[in-house]
């Protein structure tokens, strides 16, 4: 039995279990009329306060955007980590460190720019 055959068994089985759960729930539960309360989001029984769809401050997006970019930049550190041991063994560690330093400096220049432009101020 290879990987796909399992899938064929699982699909109907999964559907059956989920369907059965909903069906028994429907049998057992108490029926109430439609009401505003019933259509509310379920927050563990607490009465909800306000709408879930609120506007965020635009500053939030700025933070998010900056975070995403700098976060993704760090991707480039992974390949370096992968070859680090080999480079050190062949005595190229200083070169590598220098390259990394330049990379980080460029990144921090970007951050400094954003900072000076006031992108990091919350209000």
């Amino acid at each position: 039995m290879d990987a796909y055959t399992v899938l064929i068994y699982f699909l109907p089985l999964g559907a059956l279990i989920a369907g059965a759960a909903m069906f028994t729930g429907n049998l057992l539960s108490i029926k109430t009329k439609e009401s505003a309360h019933k259509r509310e989001a379920y927050e563990c029984g607490e009465v909800i306060i306000g709408d879930a769809r609120i506007q965020f401050k635009v500053g939030y997006y700025l933070f998010a955007l900056l975070f995403v970019i700098f976060d993704v930049e760090s991707l480039f550190l992974f390949p370096v980590a992968r070859i680090f041991r080999g480079q050190v063994a062949s005595g190229l560690a200083p070169h590598l460190l220098l390259d990394l330093a330049i990379f980080v400096v460029v990144l921090s220049l970007g951050l400094a720019y954003a900072w000076r432009k006031g992108a990091l101020k919350w209000d």
């Binding site: 460029v106 220049l109 400094a112 720019y113 000076r116 432009k117």
Partner: protein, 458 residues
Amino acid sequence: MSLYLILSILGALVLLSSLGRGKRLVVPLAIAGLLGALAVTGMGLGLDHPLLKGMAEFDRYAVLFSCLLLVLGTLVVLLLTNPNERSDIPRVEMAALLLFSLTGGIMMASFAHLVMLFLGVEILSIPLYILAGARKRERAGNEAALKYFITGSFATGFLLFGIALIYGATGSFSTRAIAAWAEANPAVFTPMFHLGLLLMLVGLAFKISAAPFHFWAPDVYEGSPSIVTSFMSTVVKVAAIAAFYRLFSEAFPAAADAWSWVIAAVAALTLAVGNLGALAQRSFKRLMAYSGISHAGFLLLALLSVGPGSAGALWIYAAAYSFATLIAFVSLLAVEAAGGGESLEALSGLGRRNPFLGVCLTISMLSLIGVPPLAGFFGKLFVFGNAVSQRHVVLVVFAVVMSAVGMAYYMRPIIQTWLRPPAGSPFQLSTSQAWVLGIATAFVVLLAAAPVWVMRFL
């Protein structure tokens, strides 16, 4: 030190200097830097040296196109110093963004590896998405930026998928390795290779605004500030066609059967759409957008006839087109600054309001028509000549007829300039505008002497 480094450091310097004092010196600094870069490139330093472990190569083709891009970029940055220029982004930042974009363009002219092509395309485009919307509070600018962004990213998606498929088929991103693979397997192009080739073609066709991937161009050109539009219609188009030609002549010459028919069809459609569309325009800016589309069609003809001399023909055509187009946009900027709008009527009596501008604009339009002995004529001569020698006679006949249609709309600015009563009082050009006009016009006139030199250099 490579051109990439010079330009990106220059861009970063300009950007960071916007934080400190002495902003006034920044743009002159950028121009000086660009001229230095031009000198370095023009002297052929670093010629034929593989860069970045062979991912890029400054061969003669790359040097020639880089010089063209640098000159065009310098002229556009020079225009930025015009005191009347209005935008919501500080001028210094605009200059930095233009420099970054230019770096991308030069990468596109010199890549030898598809990663560099992709990075070039993106570095070229991303600053432009910002610049297109430089006037933040104008809805037209917003719309232009958003349209450019969405259609541009969509096209990038196709380009990337194409690259991935080519990689899957050939196992490499290097143009040489791809060409070697295609040569070694001439008969059995796998569907993967074929599909990848065509998708890459689509992605690049978008960048040069070839039909049916041209729809963004008129809207984006119209909505962006004119100075940004001048950059888009010159530097971006030259970079895109340079990359297009470089890719197809270096990586896929052996697969010509698989793509030449597509280029032929796209070129014909582009010629029709560009020329006919321009005929119906009332705004000079939109007219130039359609003119850009139509010239993309002519440029594709050069691509169709890859062979000895075709790269030179492409360069001459691209240079002739972009200098003439730059003149048109400077005229537009000057007229806008003098209180006119973007309509053709705003050019009325320009010849009497500012004779120098009128003469330059007329020369530019005549060159775009292809009147000898201006540069545009030689562009057409060589491009058509090459295409005829490659037996694309029907397409050339069609192109010639379409350039006949082109005459009808390029004459309209000339008629407005000389035969209509002035739309306003005489006005002065700003110093930078006068310089840019003078230099660009000199190129349009003097490039007539260049063909020999270019052909010999390549």
